[in-house]
C-alpha cells in the first residue's frame, strides 16, 4: 500500500500542499477560480500546522483499523480490502460528522456547502498526489509501506 510520508524536518510550513490539493479538486483547475469563484469552493484534504519552527502537513493516514470507517453511520467510508485504503462514497455520506469525532488526526473536513465530509483520497487515479508533486522542499514523499 502506498502512503504519504510526512518529513517534518523539511517542512517550512508554506502551505503549498493545501493549495495544490484545492487546485486538484477544483472543477476549473484554475487557482483564482478555485479560491474565489467556483460555486463549490473545494476544501483541502491536507492541513499544515505550525508551532515555532516546526511544521507538519496532516491528512488522512489510511489507518489499518480505521476508526472513521467503524463510526460511519451511512456506510460511506470503507476500507478497501485490496488496496488497504480508506475509500469514501459521496452518495452514502449523510454528513453526520461521526467520522470527524473518530479521526485521531482531525483529518476529515466538514464541507458545509455540500453537507458532507471532504478528505484526502491520495488524488485517486493520479500517479503521484498533487500535494507531493507540488511540495517545493520534498517534505512529502509518496512511498510504498
Amino acid at each position: 500500500m502506498k502512503r504519504i510520508l510526512v518529513k517534518e524536518q523539511f517542512c517550512i510550513g508554506c502551505r503549498l500542499c493545501e493549495v495544490y490539493c484545492r487546485l486538484q479538486r477544483s472543477e476549473s483547475g484554475e487557482l483564482l477560480r478555485a479560491y474565489k469563484r467556483e460555486a463549490s469552493l473545494p476544501l483541502s484534504g491536507a492541513r499544515v500546522e505550525e508551532r515555532g519552527p516546526v511544521a507538519i502537513s496532516v491528512r488522512c493516514q489510511n489507518c489499518e483499523e480505521p476508526a472513521c470507517v467503524y463510526a460511519c453511520l451511512g456506510g460511506a467510508l470503507k476500507r478497501d480490502a485490496d488496496s488497504g485504503l480508506v475509500v469514501w462514497e459521496e452518495e452514502q455520506c449523510l454528513g453526520c460528522w461521526s467520522c470527524i469525532l473518530a479521526c485521531p488526526y482531525g483529518a476529515i473536513r466538514k464541507d458545509t456547502r455540500r453537507g458532507k465530509i471532504a478528505r484526502c483520497d491520495l488524488c485517486s487515479g493520479e500517479e503521484v498526489p498533487a500535494c507531493v508533486a507540488g511540495c517545493p522542499n520534498e517534505a512529502l514523499e509518496y512511498i510504498e509501506s
Partner: protein, 428 residues
C-alpha cells in the same frame, strides 16, 4: 433443523459489523442473520430522510443490496427470534422453524419507551426508531398541521427537524430544563435550542405530558395534548421520543446475565458460553467510567460487533471501550460531543472557549480528558477524543486543547510523531 456456524440476531450496526469481521477471517463458515424488520440493513439515523424527503429504504441501505449474497450470508428477514436454548445451541423462529448454531450474537438493539398515559394508543401517535415508523408518520402527515414531539433528545431532535422540513408547526415538550440535556452542556444545548427556535419550533421545557386527547369522546384520532401544568396544545400528530430501552427479553429468558443491558466482557462474550452481545442491547466497557455501561450509539455498536465477530470466529480481540459519543448537524448547528459534558461535582476542571461562532469545552479529571463538546469548528475534535480514549495525561498542555490554533502539533512531540509515523490501530 437448519444448522449454521454463526447466528446473528439483529440486522443493523452490530449484526452487520460482526458478519463482516467473521467473513474477514472465516471465508466459508455459514452465517445467518435474523431480523424482525423486513428490509436489508439500513442507516437508522437516516429514517428522517424518508420522512423529510421521501427517500426510499433502498436509498438508505447501509451496505449495497448484494451484500448478503456476496458474503454468503443468509438473511432471514421479517422474522422474529422467539426464544433461545443456549445449552442446546438452538434458536426458535416465529415461523415455527428452529436453527441450531455454533456461536450466537445478540445484536437486538433497543425499543422505544412509550409511557402509559391517557390516549397513547390513539391514531396519530408514533415512535421514531425504525424505517416503518418514518413511513407510518409520512403516510399520516397529510392529516396534520401541528405536531408535538415528546422528548428533546437526539431522536426527538431528528424527528423535529424532519417534521419542520415537511412544513409542520412543531412543539417539543422536554421534561428536563433543556433539550439534548444528556449529551450536551448548557451552552451547546442553548445553541441548538436557538437554532430550533429560529426554525419556528416551540420549545417547552420542565414539562411532561399528562394525556393525549381526541376531538370528542369515542373519536380515535389525536387533537391535542395536555401538559402536567394543565396547558393544552392542539396537534394532530404526536411523536413519542423519550428514550430507548435495550431489548433484553430473549437474553433474560435464556438465563443470560443481564443488568441494564446484557452483561459482556471485553471480548463481548456474555455469561453464557458461545453467546455474544453488542450494540444498544449490551452493557459494554465505557472507558470514561472504566466499567460496563449502556452507550447506545451507532459507532459503538459497530465496533462492539466487529470485536464480537472476531472472537466468534476464534480470533481473539478486545473491545477498546466506548463512551457516549454524539455528532450532529441538526438545524445547521455542527456539534460533536463525548463523555461527561456536565461534571457532577467540582472535582472536575472545565475549560471553555467561545470565539467566532465556535464553541469548545473540555472536561478534565485528574489530568485526563473525560468529556468534550465542540460546536461550529469541529474538525479537530477527533484529536481531543483520542486523548480522551487513551487517557493521556494532558496536564502539561491542557490549555491548548481549547485554543484557536489547536492541532496535532500542540500535543507532546512524541505523541504526534508516533501518530504520523505509525498510523492508528483501533484494535491492537
Amino acid at each position: 433443523m437448519k444448522k449454521v456456524e454463526y447466528l446473528i440476531i439483529g440486522n443493523s450496526a452490530g449484526g452487520i459489523a460482526a458478519a463482516e469481521a467473521i467473513r474477514q477471517v472465516d471465508k466459508s463458515g455459514e452465517i445467518a442473520i435474523i431480523s424482525d424488520e423486513p428490509c436489508a440493513a439500513y442507516c437508522r439515523a437516516r429514517i428522517a430522510e424518508h420522512l423529510a424527503y421521501g427517500r426510499s429504504v433502498d436509498d438508505l441501505l447501509f451496505r449495497p443490496a448484494d451484500f448478503y449474497e456476496k458474503n454468503g450470508i443468509q438473511a432471514i428477514l421479517g422474522r422474529r427470534a422467539e426464544w433461545i436454548d443456549a445449552g442446546a445451541h438452538r434458536v426458535q423462529i416465529d415461523d415455527g422453524t428452529g436453527i441450531s448454531w455454533g456461536k450466537l450474537l445478540l445484536a437486538t438493539g433497543g425499543r422505544p419507551i412509550v409511557p402509559e398515559m391517557e390516549g397513547v394508543n390513539r391514531k396519530g401517535v408514533f415512535t421514531f426508531t425504525t424505517f416503518d415508523d418514518a413511513r407510518a408518520i409520512a403516510r399520516y402527515i397529510e392529516k396534520a398541521e401541528r405536531a408535538v414531539v415528546i422528548g428533546g433528545g437526539l431522536i426527538g431532535t431528528s424527528a423535529i427537524e424532519a417534521l419542520v422540513k415537511r412544513g409542520l408547526k412543531v412543539t417539543v415538550v422536554e421534561m428536563k430544563e433543556r433539550i439534548l440535556n444528556t449529551i450536551l452542556d448548557e451552552e451547546a444545548s442553548a445553541l441548538e435550542a436557538e437554532a430550533m427556535k429560529q426554525a419556528g419550533v416551540d420549545i417547552i421545557t420542565g414539562a411532561t405530558i399528562f394525556g393525549i386527547n381526541g376531538p370528542s369522546t369515542g373519536a380515535e384520532v389525536v387533537s391535542s395534548v395536555t401538559l402536567d401544568s394543565g396547558r393544552e396544545i392542539p396537534c394532530q400528530l404526536v411523536v413519542v421520543a423519550i428514550g430507548v430501552t435495550p431489548r433484553l427479553e430473549l437474553a433474560a429468558a435464556a438465563g443470560i446475565k443481564v443488568n441494564r443491558g446484557i452483561a459482556v466482557d471485553r471480548r463481548m462474550a456474555t455469561s453464557c458460553p458461545d453467546v455474544y452481545a453488542c450494540g444498544d442491547v449490551a452493557e459494554a466497557h465505557d472507558f470514561v467510567y472504566q466499567g460496563p455501561r449502556l452507550t447506545p450509539v451507532w459507532p459503538n455498536a459497530y465496533l462492539g460487533g466487529r470485536v464480537a465477530g472476531f472472537n466468534m470466529a476464534g480470533v481473539a480481540a478486545d473491545y477498546p471501550g466506548g463512551t457516549a459519543i454524539n455528532s450532529m448537524k441538526y438545524f445547521g448547528v455542527d456539534i460533536t460531543s463525548a463523555g461527561i459534558t456536565v461534571p457532577p461535582d467540582d472535582s472536575y476542571r472545565v475549560l471553555r472557549r467561545r470565539q467566532n461562532g465556535s464553541y469548545r469545552r473540555v472536561v478534565v479529571k485528574v489530568g485526563c480528558v473525560v468529556g468534550m463538546v465542540f460546536a461550529g469548528d469541529i474538525e479537530k475534535s477527533g484529536i481531543v477524543f483520542k486523548l480522551m480514549k487513551e487517557r493521556v495525561d494532558v496536564s502539561q498542555f491542557v490549555e491548548t486543547l481549547v485554543a484557536d490554533d489547536f492541532g496535532l502539533i500542540c500535543l507532546p512531540e512524541d505523541l504526534w510523531r508516533s501518530q504520523l509515523v505509525a498510523p492508528d490501530k483501533v484494535l491492537k
